[in-house]
């Protein structure tokens, strides 16, 4: 890759302005505060293809229009005496690197994007986007982007990817119905206050049922790096999840959520599972075309004391829907409820187990045709399942994190574990356990108290002196 002369994109949007952070921005802001300064963990790298005979000025024009139409791409986050403020610049400039590559422009763009994302953003002083263009023989082939998570979430990235070809073609796009400045205004109004109040009631009721933590386990020497993530691609899991979803009148998202909860409960020896679901908060049509972070955490608490896995899916589906419905709230109000619950329980509540379904429409639209009535088919499909090490991280705000991947033709699934509580290889075993559970539940009713056995997962042993109080484990040897 050879660097050419960088270009400058000068942009002038329809307006500038300042407002308090939206609830979604505040969520990410809080997470970035939790990291060490300069840690680029929350940066996102993204690439966009440039198809057809489009010249460099046209690509730069599309980049300009992208920044002009989405205020989040020209927003700084400034700490003031009144708290953090989002400040939208009406006009400004962005330096765009240009790189010549002989071949494989998309993979060159991926490398560039990762490089651009490797340095933390100066939230107050820098645009939350960095950009470079990859050209081959003078013709633009791809655009590399690095974005601050304060500026975009996964939904926003998909939105940008959808708009990109039309921006390149010079099409007129309608202005987004709502920008983060408008969202902040909406969130200070009555309708949002009512939603937030409903969410607070949901959290209060859920916290009363949640175990104090899922990780009341004997401490272990953490591995290095401490957080380990494994991935799996399993057609068998996808087909089984679809079959179970149809049978239980639920969605595949709910099937995977309940399976994750059941696995975690089985491994940690709990009869109730608490997970935080990442809620995209995009079902409201008014925010569908808003670029900016909107996701918050929803509380999902599932009773797994008895019955079958299918029963748990039926119950869990309603619980998951309620968690998603109650995912748009004023963070400080929910923080207060969490503090109140901690006081009542006399212990901090640790909810650091998460589930995230990143599929844009909650489906696998491109699954290959499979004979679903043939019981041998699923077993055959399992032989094609692959697991892989996905990454190690020094610091993550989670003890366990379950997530789908964006693949549309197979079930891509990831499990991250905190090795201070669970061995790193448990992540891989949980992936295969998830598949085993789903496949078995298609063939026969699986009682929830047999999930560990079906998944081939041994519960973490607790030494003598540990006793159960309700659904909490207590280490009496410390007393």
């Amino acid at each position: 890759m050879t660097p050419l002369t960088p270009e400058t994109v000068e942009f002038t949007g329809a307006r500038g302005g300042a407002a308090p952070l939206t609830w979604g921005q505040r969520m990410i802001w809080g997470s970035t505060r939790w990291l060490d300064d300069g840690d680029p963990y929350f940066n996102l790298s993204w690439t966009l293809p440039v198809a057809g005979a489009v010249d460099l000025p046209a690509v730069l024009r599309a980049v300009r229009r992208l920044i002009e139409r989405h205020e989040t791409l020209r927003t700084a986050y400034v700490e003031t005496a009144e708290g953090v403020v989002q400040r939208v610049a009406r006009a400004g400039r962005l330096t765009v690197g240009v790189y010549e590559t002989g071949s494989r422009p998309m993979s060159a763009a991926k490398t560039l994007a990762a490089d651009l994302a490797a340095t933390a953003f100066d939230y107050a002083g820098e645009l939350p986007v960095r950009c470079a263009v990859v050209v081959t023989g003078g013709r633009p082939r791809a655009v590399a982007l690095a974005l601050s998570h304060l500026a975009v979430d996964g939904w926003s990235l998909n939105l940008i990817a959808t708009e990109w070809p039309r921006l390149l073609a010079g099409d007129d796009l309608p202005a987004p119905a709502r920008q983060p400045l408008d969202q902040a205004a909406y969130e200070s109004g009555d309708e949002a206050a009512a939603r937030s109040a409903r969410a607070v009631r949901h959290w209060r009721a859920g916290l009363a049922r949640a175990p104090r933590t899922m990780f009341d386990l004997p401490e272990r020497e953490p591995e290095k790096p401490r957080f380990v993530r494994f991935g799996m691609r399993s057609l068998a899991a996808a087909v089984a999840a679809e079959t179970l979803a149809a049978r239980c009148s639920a969605t595949t998202a709910s099937v995977l959520t309940v399976a994750s909860a059941a696995l975690l409960a089985a491994v940690t020896g709990h009869r109730t599972a608490a997970l935080q679901l990442i809620v995209s908060n995009r079902h409201d049509p008014r925010v569908r075309d808003m670029a900016g972070p909107a996701a918050l955490d929803g509380l999902f608490v599932l009773d797994l004391a008895g019955g079958t896995f299918a029963d748990a899916v039926r119950r869990g589906h309603g619980q998951a829907m309620a968690a998603y419905r109650n995912g748009h709230y004023d963070l400080s109000a929910v923080d207060a409820v969490r503090a109140e619950a901690a006081r009542e329980r006399g212990a901090d509540l640790d909810l650091d187990a998460f589930f995230n379904d990143v599929r844009p429409d909650g489906r696998w639209p491109d699954l290959p045709p499979v004979d679903r009535d043939d019981p041998g088919e699923l077993t055959a499909l399992r032989e094609r399942t692959r697991t892989f090490f996905d990454g190690g991280y020094p610091r993550v705000k989670a003890h366990a994190f379950f997530a789908t991947g964006p693949a549309s033709a197979t079930c891509e699934f990831f499990v991250l574990v905190d090795t201070a509580f669970l061995p790193g290889e448990a992540a891989e075993r949980m992936l295969l356990g998830l598949e085993a559970l789903l496949v078995r539940a298609v063939a026969e009713e699986v009682p929830v108290d047999r999930v560990a056995e079906v998944c081939g997962l041994a519960p973490v042993p607790r030494p003598a002196g540990w006793t159960r109080a309700g659904d909490d484990w207590i280490d009496n040897t410390e007393r």
Partner: protein, 91 residues
């Protein structure tokens, strides 16, 4: 009437992917028809706006159009009697 109107709301929540007429005549569950979590949430919001009442998400009636219609009819009757609607939307 309620059933017909709900079928229209399902169709609209699906972005037109599901036809109201198909939803009305089908004996399959809503998820089997292709109602994803996102579509559900849009539907529940639409019901709240149109009928001014919240759907209790913690029950089996979410599955089918008839279940939903029955639940909603109960809710509306309760509201008409001026009886307390319970902790709607709490769970």
């Amino acid at each position: 009437m309620l059933r017909e109107r709900l079928a229209e709301l399902v169709s609209r929540a699906s972005g037109g992917e599901l036809a109201a007429a198909d939803v009305l005549v089908s004996d399959r569950s809503l998820p089997a028809l292709g109602v994803t979590s996102l579509v559900y949430l849009r539907l529940i919001d639409a019901i709240e706006v149109e009928f001014g009442c919240d759907v209790d998400l913690d029950g089996p009636f979410l599955d089918t159009l008839d279940g939903l219609a029955g639940h909603l009819a109960d809710r509306l009757a309760l509201a008409d009697e001026g009886a307390p609607g319970g902790r709607a939307g709490d769970r």
